[in-house]
Subunit: 384 residues, 2 copies
């Protein structure tokens, strides 16, 4: 039964994804490796309250088959987050990973060129690899992407899309400046390239002013992906796509053939939480908690490592991208760190060509303040 | 952005699927068209009870990210339904449509040959078309498939799999005899063909003895799909795959890259309902209700149409496959029936080549006894 896709799936799964998940689940290791929210902060009391509201409405159709694009009330609330957007420009997916998969499944042919930031989100790289895309990279720094390289790629490769995480990027935590974004949008328009804007972290901003999205700079050529996994809970499995209506229609057909629909239950709960302001209140509380965690990790890194490492303080999101300057290959540091009882993700896995890197990605949202301090100390011992 | 897949998706979606769903939602039409369970029978009180049990366990990890293959407790309960099966041979999916999609996505290359029953499940035919499979058909009658044709196809086409719905088939309601199944299994073993056994209806048996599944006749070459959509509720979005462990491992990797995981919440509820015997009790109640509906439709058809139609009384499931002998093209009957205020699905859509057919599929689970009698009368008026 082996086929090209099965082979590519198997190869990709042998990558670092599983290792990360396994490490994060191990109780004797302090893990800065995963990208998990703090499970103790999930607003379960509110979930229970609204779940019972739904049950007591006694709506027979709540558990019946329904349409593929999702609960209208939630699509309306999500549409409000964007300028001049109707619910027809929104569809709901089984987490934003499914959104990414549906875009690939529907629009990507084998050997189509796509452009990704270097480094980029591991599970997206794996997915593009499985679809046998021709993956080209554009360098990313703390201000955004290298515009000269990007234009050259737009011109020479006729890419199907440019996959970008412009706010609190994974793995770097970097955000594009407005100038960089405007220039990317100008180039995309000039060369008619779709921007596939993945924005799972934008609600988790600890300081600085709100970013302008590609969704508002170039709505006619942007497919934006969002999620409630970082603000409500991953198990809700609610991601969304905001895109021109024709693209939403094609993706909805694709969704229907793929799995008919998602469960409406938690979509209704999310809609109620948005309508009643609970999501906003909860997100503010999350920001307070996560900002303290970020600050604790930054202070610990600065006090412990001093000048022996460098990093850019992220204004939001879940990650710090650390340059372990004295260690050319952070994969070696990773092995030593595990022995000391702390995990992080070595930078090389986030590069499309898996090149040796001195960088590492540290997550701070899923550890306690004490674990953050202790983990940084252990990491320093491994680094010495 | 148009690609081969997008084009095939759009073509398929223009098929009858949407018409069926739209008709089923129209309140002024009695619909025998869809394949929906009776929403008034969903055991919502039990759902609410177990939902609150889960909330009150206060398990932080309930809403956190988790593994791709699903909740272990539920996989254990499902494994018990099969002989000598461990939970490692089971994975959970977002409804059984996703199971079908994952099998295609993982194992099917373009122009691979697959075999389907003629007629077969519409959404499966659409999906295989989207994956650009080379679809071959084998005739089906009330005893099973034509074994001579099947062997010829096994021999000449080297099919990747044979897609079969052996119990209460959709659209026909037919079940393979044990002899037919044993012979299919023997041929599959001889020619080393995977049996993709779709079995969504087997729990809804109104009479006759339990069928032997391909899962037990030929476990090493069978991928079996199951679902809770017909016994608990479609919105649970829980399907499952039972297959040799190596296949489950590949499909789990594929699932992980596709949408990471499903929500655990309703998986836990389903597990609790199985552990406590509630699913069994509820299924017995469902069988009683649906048997009455089936009998009501059969009596109405016999009394109203007499010898002018023919059908095989199904021992279970959701459908009656009626031969409207006096009407060569049931698509024309469909148009007249809609004008009279009743809907069914014309047979041609279930054939891979969409050939003209005198058959029609009638669903009885989603109408009241009164609607069944009234709908059959209206259908007769259209038929006259």
């Amino acid at each position: 039964m082996h086929t090209k896709f099965a082979k590519r799936v198997t190869t990709a799964s042998r990558s670092f994804t599983r290792t990360i998940l396994d490490l994060t689940a191990q109780s004797d290791i302090i893990s800065f490796a995963g990208g998990l929210p703090d499970a103790s902060l999930f607003p379960k009391t509110l979930f229970q309250k609204y779940a019972n509201t739904l049950f007591e409405k006694n709506d027979n159709l709540l558990f019946q088959y329904s349409n593929a694009s999702g609960v209208e009330a939630l699509k309306i609330e999500i549409a409000k987050r964007y300028e001049d957007t109707s619910s027809k420009a929104i569809m709901l997916t089984n987490g934003s990973q499914q959104a990414l998969d549906l875009v690939c499944k529907t629009f990507l042919d084998e050997q189509d060129c796509i452009i990704v930031e270097d480094p980029s989100y591991l599970a997206a790289l794996n997915l593009f690899h499985m679809y046998n895309a021709d993956i080209k990279t554009v360098a990313l720094d703390k201000n955004g992407v290298d515009l000269v390289s990007l234009e050259k790629l737009f011109l020479t490769c006729k890419p199907k899309f440019f996959y970008t995480i412009p706010i609190f990027q994974n793995p770097t935590g970097y955000s594009y400046t407005l100038e960089n974004k405007e220039e990317v949008a100008r180039l995309a328009k000039k060369y008619h390239v779709i921007l596939l804007e993945d924005s799972p972290y934008e609600a988790l901003r600890y300081e600085g002013k709100q970013s302008t999205s590609f969704a508002s700079l170039l709505p006619e050529l942007t497919i934006t992906l969002g999620t409630f996994s970082k603000t409500l809970a991953p198990d809700f499995r609610i991601g969304w796509i905001k895109a021109p209506q024709k693209i939403i229609e094609a993706l909805t057909c694709s969704k229907e053939s793929t799995d008919l629909q998602n469960s409406k239950f938690f979509q209704h709960i999310a809609a109620l939480m948005m309508q009643n302001g609970d999501l906003e209140t909860h997100t503010k509380a999350l920001i307070k908690h996560y900002k303290t965690k970020r600050d604790t990790m930054i202070t610990a890194l600065e006090e412990t490592f001093g000048e022996s490492i460098s990093f850019v303080k992220p204004e939001g999101g879940m990650f710090i991208w650390v340059n372990f300057k004295n260690c050319k290959d952070s994969m070696q540091l990773f092995d030593k760190a595990i022995q000391k009882g702390v995990a992080f993700v070595p930078g090389s896995v986030f590069f499309a060509d898996k090149k040796v890197s001195s960088f590492g990605r540290l997550n701070y949202t899923n550890s306690s303040l004490e674990q953050i301090r202790e983990g940084v100390q252990k990491l320093y011992e491994a680094y010495l």
